[in-house]
Amino acid sequence: MQTLTAGRSLDALVDRVYTLTEGTLELDRSTLHRIARGQTRIARAIDTPEACVRLYFALMIVGCEQDLPVDAVVQEGRAVLAGLIGDPLATLIIGDLERTLPKLTDLRTLREYLEEGLRIWLPK
């Protein structure tokens, strides 16, 4: 989380996540602060696996916006995902990421993938 904020405040990160997810995450600042400090792995305010996946995609897009190296974005993403969602869905998502991410070698393509992923997981 500290890598993703890149020196900015967590509040700015929360605002960006809110915008990216079109307000569909009920993510309050204190929850994100707790996650960032490692005090909770399962965010109390995020109670569906779908919402966790949206948070994952949004955080990864923020990583791309910080111009982090692709590897750093991918590693952060894995850590976030493994901590946030339950086993069956995490296995599916991580399985897809394991297959897909090695094929996305540049930041722009990775970002388009993440944005499409987020669109797909947004509630209709």
Binding site: P102, K103, R108, T109, E112, Y113, E116
Partner: protein, 200 residues
């Protein structure tokens, strides 16, 4: 979120663009695939599937591709879907070069796309859209690289003459329609010659 990019204003054949449009509508209406065009330096296309089969799928196509290349990709991806490669939470990456890790999957889709393109199998709604259906003569001609180049040059020459000489009286003639279809099929096979390969 990056803004969606509309189709690049290329000087491309209206027949190809119209064909592409109808295939894109087919993907959306029949297969639940929403398409958008965006810069993808590292791939030709990404098909991202949602958590459930009935969930809409998202297709991102690289904006540097021509209409003919996009048409080929739509048919190829329709083949992936027909083969049920797009299971939930699964992303299909169409690479720029040869696929490596999942080469067999792409090979199977290629095989089916070829049959679909010539109207030999698959969804009848898709077959009805394709200008190439049951074109045995064209298929035979386009299977040869030299014949393919010559045919394309001849068709482009005729198209040039048509516009240069303002032969609009022929616009609705069956011959013009047939030549348009032939140019469309030839353009697509020129960017994806594997479509004209002989059956195994």
């Amino acid at each position: 979120m990056a803004a969606e990019v509309t189709l690049a204003p290329r000087a491309e054949s209206n027949t190809l663009r119209g064909q592409e449009e109808s295939l894109r509508a087919y993907l959306a209406d029949r297969l639940g695939i929403r398409t958008r065009i965006a810069p993808l330096p590292g791939a030709r296309a990404l098909l991202v599937s949602g958590p459930r089969p009935e969930h809409p799928k998202g297709l991102v196509i690289d904006d540097s591709l021509t209409a003919a290349e996009r048409i080929y990709l739509y048919v190829h991806l329709a083949a992936h879907v027909a083969l049920r490669h797009n299971v939930p939470v699964m992303t299909i990456v169409e690479p720029r070069g040869e696929a490596t890790s999942d080469a067999p999957v792409h090979r199977d889709a290629e095989e089916l796309a070829r049959a679909m393109w010539w109207g030999l199998t698959g969804d009848t709604a898709l077959a009805a859209l394709l200008p190439s259906r049951r074109s045995r003569l064209l298929r035979a001609l386009l299977g040869n690289a030299l014949a393919r180049t010559l045919l394309r040059t001849a068709l482009l020459g005729m198209r040039h003459a048509y516009y240069r000489l303002h032969m609009t009286a022929l616009a609705e003639s069956p011959l013009t329609a047939a030549l348009r279809r032939a140019l469309c099929v030839t353009a697509v096979v020129c960017v994806a010659p594997q479509l004209a390969r002989a059956r195994r």
